[in-house]
């Protein structure tokens, strides 16, 4: 199997449809016609071959990233199954939306318009603040990364594994998505791209037990790490001492350390603090700001690699413009 796959892999990516076709046909042949050892060895030998092949795959994936291409190729076959599974729920939601009453729609429209007005006015202020921030940082001679690009991706309602908080979205490496990109929704940080496949990508939520995100408290800048708890509405802050300056209701924002999440996005709100005088660290719970189980549209973020230069004429010009207004 793996030898065949490698042979197919060497065909240039330009012939991708053809290539996928070959792979599909090969898989089909193995499932349906079962050509290997049609009359030959006993089932013991077959089991041995299958087990050795599986172990080889398991080890090879740990040791190198070569198998990612095999996975991408196979995902061309499995992605349709995912989208078919998503289809009924997606459809029913759309139908529900389309039979809403005119009155409700009008009301919602009015509300959205008001919200947009508020956000626009806040954005005006934000632009001025951003320029001021860049100027101040230039005074401090610190570089500043800014200006992320985003891509809207839609969630597929599938559940890959019962205990992992991993979701699938419908944008993949065809759109330039790559692993370890931050993912946001309208309210805060959702997670990061865990695996980018050609047509879809898997996103690990911040509440997954094997996920951790560097955060800081917005009020005083105290930095720590928020670890997923396995519950969709809870994060743990296991590394803060009993006397740390933290209060219930504090906003946690991403600190930008670690290089995956851009700095300054809201992550969670501190929910409960249990002091443990007999232990070095307190037990602190936080509730994610993002609507992890409700958002259907997610934003995948590209960070701008180059920091904004410290002193340029452009910034001064825009400053003047703002002053003029």
């Amino acid at each position: 199997m793996s030898i065949q796959a490698i042979r197919y892999r060497t065909i240039p990516i330009i012939f991708c449809p053809l290539w996928t076709f070959y792979l599909t046909r090969f898989i089909f042949e193995v499932i349906v016609i079962n050509p290997l050892f049609a009359t030959g060895p006993s089932i013991n030998t077959r089991l041995l071959v299958a087990v050795l092949a599986s172990i080889a795959l398991l080890v090879a994936e740990r040791k190198s990233s070569q198998l990612d291409k095999l996975r991408s190729a196979l995902s061309m076959i499995t992605y349709p199954i995912q989208s078919i599974t998503d289809w009924p729920l997606h459809r029913s939601k759309e139908t529900l939306e389309s039979i809403q009453s005119l009155y409700n729609l009008k009301e919602e429209n009015e509300q959205l318009r008001q919200e947009q007005l508020i956000y626009k006015s806040q954005l005006l202020k934000y632009e001025a603040l951003e320029q001021e921030n860049i100027r101040l940082r230039a005074l401090l001679e610190k570089s500043f990364k800014l200006g992320e690009q985003v891509l809207v991706a839609e969630l597929l309602s599938v559940n890959l594994a019962p205990f992992e908080h991993v979701v699938v979205v419908d944008k993949g490496s065809r759109f330039g998505v790559h692993t370890q990109q931050a993912v946001l929704d309208a309210y805060g940080v959702v997670g990061q791209v865990y695996r980018a496949l050609p047509l879809s990508s898997e996103i690990m939520l911040i509440t997954d037990p094997s996920h951790a995100i560097p955060v800081q408290i917005n009020r005083n800048g105290l930095r720590t790490i928020a670890v997923g708890s396995g519950q969709i509405n809870r994060l743990l802050l296991p590394y803060l001492a009993n006397n740390a300056d933290i209060k219930e209701g504090d906003l946690l924002i991403s600190s930008g350390l670690g290089g995956i999440f851009p700095q300054g996005y809201p992550v969670a709100i501190v929910e409960k603090i249990i002091l443990q005088p007999n232990k070095p660290f307190a037990e602190i719970y936080a509730t994610p700001k993002a609507q992890l189980n409700r958002s259907r549209e997610l934003l995948i973020v590209w960070k701008s690699e180059a920091p904004i230069p410290l002193e340029t004429q452009e910034t001064e010009q825009t400053d003047e413009n703002h002053a003029g207004k």
Binding site: V32, A50, I55, L58, I77, I81, A161
Partner: protein, 162 residues
């Protein structure tokens, strides 16, 4: 039992794809841990029903596709499927004579083996925290076995009996 007359590739593939859909279907949150490994159940059924057509390599390939579908390490479900298919091939003559309850015991054993393999091979934090809920698919899978068995038999034999 004339399996050769009653085996249809279309129905076989359809049942596998349907099981893959069920495997990743989004169940409501409190019920999600109960979602059994439908693909394995369907593979077990086909190995028992048509051991001359569906063998270890078919099970292995389906397992590989399952790995990609559910984002596991490549080879994990392939290993499980081929081992379980081997057990079924070894015992299929006896198992087909058993009443459904006794078959259920065997299915329970197969699912337990598969879950143990996942437990040993995966080094995820997730399983360590999931506690007893991790083993629920074994119970629910055994519980759903009669459903899988009778519905797949109905699909296999529908307008095929001669």
């Amino acid at each position: 039992m004339p399996e050769n007359n009653t085996f249809s590739y279309g129905r076989y593939l359809f049942s596998i794809i349907f099981a893959m859909g069920l495997n990743i279907a989004a169940w409501p949150q409190p019920l999600a841990p109960f979602n059994p490994n439908w693909i394995l159940l369907v593979v077990i059924y086909w190995v028992l029903a048509a051991p001359d057509r569906v063998g270890i390599f078919s099970a292995w390939t389906i397992g590989l596709l399952t790995d990609v579908l559910t984002g596991r390490m490549l080879g994990l479900n392939a290993l499980i499927n081929s081992l379980v298919a081997f057990l079924c091939l070894r015992l299929h003559k006896r198992l087909r004579q058993y009443p459904i309850l006794q078959q259920g015991l065997f299915i329970f054993f197969c699912l337990l083996v598969s879950q143990f393999l996942i437990f040993w091979i995966t080094d995820s934090q997730t399983i360590a925290r999931a506690s007893y809920a991790f083993w629920l698919p074994v119970l629910s899978g055994t519980f759903f076995w009669p459903l899988v068995f009778f519905s797949l038999r109905a699909i296999r034999l529908f307008r095929r009996i001669r």
